[in-house]
């Protein structure tokens, strides 16, 4: 019996569609992080996999100590702090990444191009540190290993490669089989966020209505434990204001019915956004489950918005009718729960992320032999998962804490959708061939069609099902909307100057 239903604005990224153009990152940067002290922050960034990511090697928790760890007695503990350890480390957080783990932000001195006195040499625009204002050598950047999948300096250090066999590793770096895909990342707006649990000031919180995780800038005292605690390194320390900042899922846009900027601007239309209803009483139990079960348990925690019992419980928990309606139309619910295609990134951090990824199926398996491209197995149109260029174990390390089952299930379904559509649009496959693949993947032709439509043809309104914010019921972020407006008008109420 479910009694404590909560709603969450959740997300799905379809990695097969990501072209790695960084438009999302730039849209976000232009709106939120172009201020002093935030230049190095990328609330949204796109990483090449295999690769080391941003900040460098963020997935390596032996270095960064992010997320939760399960103790011998089965309790969850914040790896980087905790109550006593956190307070004892207020004066120096031992696991805090420094600017050098990210990069020193820079501008170019463009005015030198036009202001330089006449001379023999072509004037150049030198890079200038955005921190010190002095000339600097650029040694790193937010997407420094972009597209460098074969690189021995970057890609080979990817922590996920620990999960693959030496043969698979060798194959990944073989010159003509080299492969990469993109993983766009942003705050996962977790259900069990370590950043919130680690904040000594209690400045961080999850909004009840939509699950957005935020930092109250007036309560934050710059103890920086959230930065160390987030295993995804998606809270950032503003070195200018002495406060931490993070992705706010563009809540001012969401509340007015617009998609977040990174979603809105996505060129490949890989992003989906919608409401999930979940059983809030199960958070702790799910977060403590065995590593291999984390994906499945999290799916169990997500409730069916069509189930009359769930609807009644949701209403009793105070969820508005149109939010329930929007949960029923949620594309995220379809990808995560109904079709079981999407999985969270690194569930082993035990934060129960609410951003899910459809793993990449392509590139299709093939080799160049005698100068021509040959499919690995001419009998099977798209090859088999065993011969996949991206090893299943690698994807499992990313998306299912090492358990290959959810990844294989997802990839088989994606493969089935392709066979089904090949049958419909080209018609060169025998029906029994198609049915065999569909049966193995456990999907019907109707489901394949629905997956295809939402993947390839979905309109803006189908990809982003944004629930009404119900500001008439809100008291504008803790205060009466009307009073705030009368007293201060809209906009920031104080100049965000640094300290005293």
């Amino acid at each position: 019996m479910v009694t404590n239903v909560r709603s969450q604005v959740a997300m799905v990224f379809h990695l097969d569609k990501c072209i790695g153009c960084h438009t999302c990152s730039v849209a976000c940067k232009n709106i939120w992080t172009d201020r002093k002290g935030t230049e190095y922050m990328w609330w949204n960034n796109v990483e090449t996999k295999p690769g080391t990511g941003f900040p460098t090697l963020w997935e390596d928790q032996t270095k960064y100590k992010g997320g939760w760890e399960k103790t011998e007695s089965g309790e969850l503990r914040i790896k980087s702090s905790g109550k006593v350890k956190g307070l004892a480390n207020l004066f120096h957080q031992p696991s805090l990444p420094t600017m050098d783990d990210y990069y020193e932000p820079f501008n170019f001195k463009y005015e030198d191009l036009t202001n330089a006195p006449a001379g023999k040499d072509q004037p150049t625009a030198r890079p200038i540190s955005a921190v010190t204002g002095e000339p600097m050598e650029i040694e790193a950047g937010p997407n420094w290993d972009d597209d460098l999948s074969g690189s021995p300096i970057y890609a080979e250090n990817d922590p996920n490669l620990m999960a693959v066999t030496p043969e698979e590793r060798a194959a990944l770096f073989e010159i003509q089989r080299m492969v990469f895909f993109y993983v766009p990342r942003m705050c996962n707006h977790c259900t069990n966020p370590t950043c919130v649990a680690a904040c000594p000031s209690g400045a961080m919180y999850k909004r009840g209505e939509d699950g957005v995780v935020l930092i109250n800038q007036e309560v934050c005292r710059g103890w920086r434990h959230c930065v160390a605690a987030c295993p995804y390194k998606k809270t950032y320390y503003n070195w200018q204001t002495g406060k931490s900042e993070k992705c706010l899922l563009c809540f001012p846009r969401l509340e007015t019915g617009q998609a977040p900027a990174c979603f809105h601007s996505c060129v490949g239309r890989i992003r989906y956004l919608g409401v999930l209803l979940y059983d809030a009483d199960r958070i702790e139990e799910v977060a403590k489950s065995d590593v291999g079960d984390l994906v499945e348990k999290q799916r169990e925690m997500i409730l069916n918005p069509h189930d009359p019992e769930v609807i009644a419980a949701a209403k009793a928990s105070g969820i508005a009718d149109d939010v329930i309606l929007s949960a029923q139309k949620s594309p995220v619910y379809k990808f995560v729960k109904e079709w079981r295609l999407a999985m969270p990134l690194h569930p082993e951090f035990r934060t129960l992320p609410m951003l899910f990824y459809v793993p990449p199926l392509l590139p299709v398996v093939g080799k160049v032999e005698n100068g021509t491209y040959e499919p690995a197995n001419p009998e099977s149109l798209f090859g088999s998962l065993k011969e996949a260029r991206v090893p299943v174990s690698y994807l499992a390390s990313l998306f299912s804490a090492g358990n290959p089952a959810p990844v294989i299930e997802s990839l088989k379904k994606l493969m089935a959708v392709r066979h089904h559509r090949r049958g419909v649009s080209v018609g060169d496959l025998r029906p029994d061939q198609i049915n065999g693949v569909l049966k193995e993947a456990g999907v019907s032709a109707e489901m394949c069609e629905a997956i295809y439509k939402l993947t390839a043809l979905a309109s803006f309104e189908e990809r982003f099902v944004i629930p009404a914010a119900h500001r008439e019921k809100a008291h504008e972020m803790m205060q009466e909307t009307e009073l705030v407006k009368k007293e201060t008008g809209f906009g920031i109420r104080q100049k965000p100057a640094r300290g005293e």
């Binding site: 010190t132 710059g222 406060k243 958070i283």
Partner: protein, 224 residues
């Protein structure tokens, strides 16, 4: 009014009033500006060797001052047994030296690191110098005036109490060496700078974290 009367009977009140009113105003109207203003993100290594000794040193030393101000009668208990006295004197000296060392490292770091310099303002340097003066004068007093452990109870506590009861009596400190007088004046000066500098962060000790539930959920709508 003599200088002594002004320094020890008027000045302390000015400082405390400035601190209380200033802090109230700052929290009321400029809460965003209250932060530890940590620069660990910009420089990590030297900070460890400065910030940790500084904070732990000053925490112990200040608690010692405060506890003995509250319970001066325990002084005789401390001083009655030479071994006990030795232990307390060594411990206070140790933590005092720790904070002097920490303060010096922090000052050196602020003046030399290219990134930290960017987030350093005049007030940061002023209070660092003030604090280093304060802890080093304290350590010097402890080393030069060995009778310290009895005059704190005999003279300082009555003087501070006279301030608390609004009947300031500077005669308790009138005969003190100038170093002690400087230490007292420095202390009140530092109190006065609290709301006007980053020192205000010490009022935000997040002690509530110890009994807070790990997850925080806030609803906009009023729950029925």
């Amino acid at each position: 009014m003599s200088l002594s009367k002004w320094l020890f009977e008027v000045f302390p009140y000015l400082c405390v009033v400035a601190a209380v009113v200033g802090t109230w105003l700052r929290f009321r109207s400029r809460r965003f500006s209250v932060s530890s203003l940590s620069s660990q993100f910009l420089e990590n290594g030297k900070l460890f060797w400065g910030s940790v000794p500084w904070h732990y040193g000053i925490l112990v030393v200040l608690s010692g001052h405060f506890l003995l101000f509250l319970f001066p009668s325990y002084f005789s208990w401390v001083t009655s047994d030479p071994r006990r006295l030795q232990f307390f004197e060594m411990a206070s000296l140790g933590f005092g030296l720790l904070s002097v060392w920490g303060g010096l490292v922090l000052l050196f770091r602020r003046m030399t690191d290219r990134r930290v310099k960017v987030v350093t303002n005049t007030m940061d340097l002023v209070i660092l110098v003030l604090l280093i003066f304060q802890v080093s004068s304290g350590v010097l007093i402890a080393m030069i005036y060995r009778w310290g452990s009895s005059w704190y109870a005999a003279s300082m506590v009555p003087y501070l109490r006279s301030l608390v009861w609004l009947q300031p009596d500077s005669s308790f400190v009138a005969s003190m060496p100038w170093l002690v007088k400087a230490h007292i004046t420095g202390a009140f000066l530092i109190i006065a700078t609290v709301p006007f500098s980053r020192l205000v962060h010490f009022l935000s000790v997040p002690i509530g974290y110890l009994w807070r539930s790990p997850q925080v959920v806030i609803w906009n709508r009023k729950k029925a």
